[in-house]
Symmetry: C2
Subunit: 367 residues, 2 copies
């Protein structure tokens, strides 16, 4: 799957993103799950799964996966983070849900276990890359770890009821980690990076970073978990994550969700912090509608429509289809505009469309 | 030296940039060189030099240096690139030029030699980090290597005439590399990354990246070299690098130099590609005035004034002093605005002011 596509859909880079191979395989499988199997969707999913199996796994490093490979599958880059493995896990799990061929579940569970071991420091990273920051000086926890793992569990649990107890236990560890360490009501936010014991590290920029889109995505992962276990308190806490993120992250001047903000209102170091990215807005549409579906609180429905208006006005390309990936703070696409990149492909947008479609159906049935 | 400063000069991160320790020590030494020694400038330079010596060198990795350290000097991050070492080299060299204490020249020459060995693949990187891209799949040349090395040579040659022949030889290697590999008249640009033999790699984004500010900086490094060896052809080639970069990189809609462009006009992958950074405009002021001083071609003077008008209108903060570091494409600062960062401190702006001041004096004397 090539994902570096310009405004008209032409390929501007032939390098392949491993994240996007997994995400694409998941998306096409999920479309089959929601709308029924279609041959072209199954084939697209299978193609990405086969490509990953053949070219994206670093066999010399305990099944760790690459970050990018060439068009013909030669490895380009190994990164320390294990998100390639996470998307590989949900892709194989979702495809197993359609085919019930054991090999796909085995692959998904093997990657899921590898990530669990890495996230919890139970094994040494087989790539040998080590942490980005010298651990004798500073270590910490990253919100992405429990959050993405919770999403992996959601998919696995649905297709693999046999390991249900283990999934429930580990999902609980994820929400404990999110609320025990990253959620800071005294600061009114959920922090991306905290000390090992959850203490905010407010003296330097990385310790103050809030990624509102990430928090909003996290909020609906947690709402799904709360619904699964029937925990109303957990749902309420997820709603708080959502509210804090959207109210701090919404750009009062130009509209849209800011990419990064600082929990104390100080400068953030990422140059692109004030840009508007497509995916944060996809997450806002999902999370606001899910919160509305679950609570019937009009506050959430208002956010859904506010987000929808912004997206239609700024992200949608009426002339060439799809959404722009990257807008400047003022809501205009950066130029030359793109429809895809190493990070943008068939994932956030179709996931949002399918989930919102499903949830709208549920809401209409409730009424 | 803390450099993460907000609009009013308050420190927003106590982590210290090793680049900026070296650059600051160079700048304060250079100010003494240009304007005469001042106690506070000497003390500032010495403080940064001492801090680097005590805390910024990875003694377990052959003198490679860290990228960031904590306020009290604990190592935070080791990167593969050897630019910390480059700024350490010019800092120690410039300080040696003021004090003639042999230890500073030894330190400068030792770092200079380490960089030479690394740039030319004569030693294995003692950090063991290895290249970012898996070298069995793809290797290449980075413009930053010969360009920064040429700047190191300029400083060393001035204070250390004894090794003049070696400096001249290695400077020649740098300009051969810039023009033999990176300069591509058929594409009308100077490429950041090329194949080992200089072939442009146009199928993927990284192979098409043009950083106009980098090229403009490179052009004045080469003009200095051309002036030093009295090579009029080399000066002409440097002028071509400048002209191509400024004409392709100047934003026709909003003014200012774009951060990154694609040599074929395709999308670039860096989110921040359309931002306006302070340093590229400092380089434009230096390079345009140097080209005018050397050629008397009004074309270059026009660029100098055009750049100056843009900088006064957009970068200068009339209320709190200094220049904003980071502007959106439309010329407004990203918010909250900053006066410093891990990359912005007392370097590009004071270097520009001192060099432009000197060159204006030279131009007035010529007339």
């Amino acid at each position: 799957m090539y994902t570096c596509l310009d405004r008209r859909g032409n390929i501007y880079s032939t390098d392949k993103s491993v994240w996007m191979q997994g995400r694409s395989a998941w998306t096409f499988s999920y479309l089959c799950h929601v709308y029924g199997k279609r041959e072209e969707w199954m084939a697209a999913a299978k193609s990405c799964l086969d490509f990953m199996e053949a070219y994206c796994i670093n066999r010399k490093a305990g099944g760790r996966m690459y970050f990018t490979v060439t068009a013909d599958g030669k490895p380009l880059r190994q990164r320390r983070y294990c998100f390639s493995e996470g998307f590989y896990a949900i892709a194989n799990a979702e495809y197993y849900g359609l085919t019930h061929e054991a090999v796909y579940l085995e692959r998904a569970r093997s990657a899921y276990e590898l990530i669990y071991q890495l996230n919890n420091g139970l094994i040494k990273d087989p790539t040998g890359l080590g942490p980005k920051t010298i651990p004798e000086t500073r270590t910490g926890r990253a919100l992405g770890d429990p959050m993405i793992f919770l999403n992996i569990i959601h998919v696995l649990r649905r297709v693999d009821p046999e390991h249900r107890e283990e999934y429930d236990l580990r999902a609980r560890e994820c929400t404990d980690s999110i609320f025990g360490y990253h959620f800071h009501p005294e600061l009114g936010c959920t922090l991306e990076s905290v000390a090992p014991d959850g203490t905010p590290e407010l003296d330097y920029t990385a310790g103050r970073v809030v990624n509102p889109g990430h928090d909003i995505e996290c909020s609906w992962f947690v709402m799904e978990q709360a619904n699964h276990i029937g925990d109303a308190d957990l749902h309420k806490k997820a709603e708080t994550v959502f509210r804090q993120a959207v109210e701090a992250g919404w750009d009062k001047e130009y509209g849209g969700i800011l990419y990064f903000i600082d929990c104390l209102g100080k400068p953030t170091e990422a140059y692109e912090h004030d840009m508007k990215l497509w995916w944060t807005h996809n997450e806002l549409l999902i999370a606001s509608l899910m919160a509305y579906r679950d609570t019937k609180d009009k506050y959430y429905l208002d956010w859904f429509f506010k987000a929808l208006d912004y997206c239609k006005a700024h992200f949608v390309d009426e002339d060439y289809g799809e959404w722009y990936g990257y807008l400047r703070r003022d809501g205009l696409p950066t130029m030359p505009s793109t429809k895809g990149s190493t990070f943008k492909g068939p994932f956030h947008l179709p996931r949002m469309l399918a989930m919102v479609d499903t949830m709208l159906g549920e809401i209409l049935c409730q009424n």
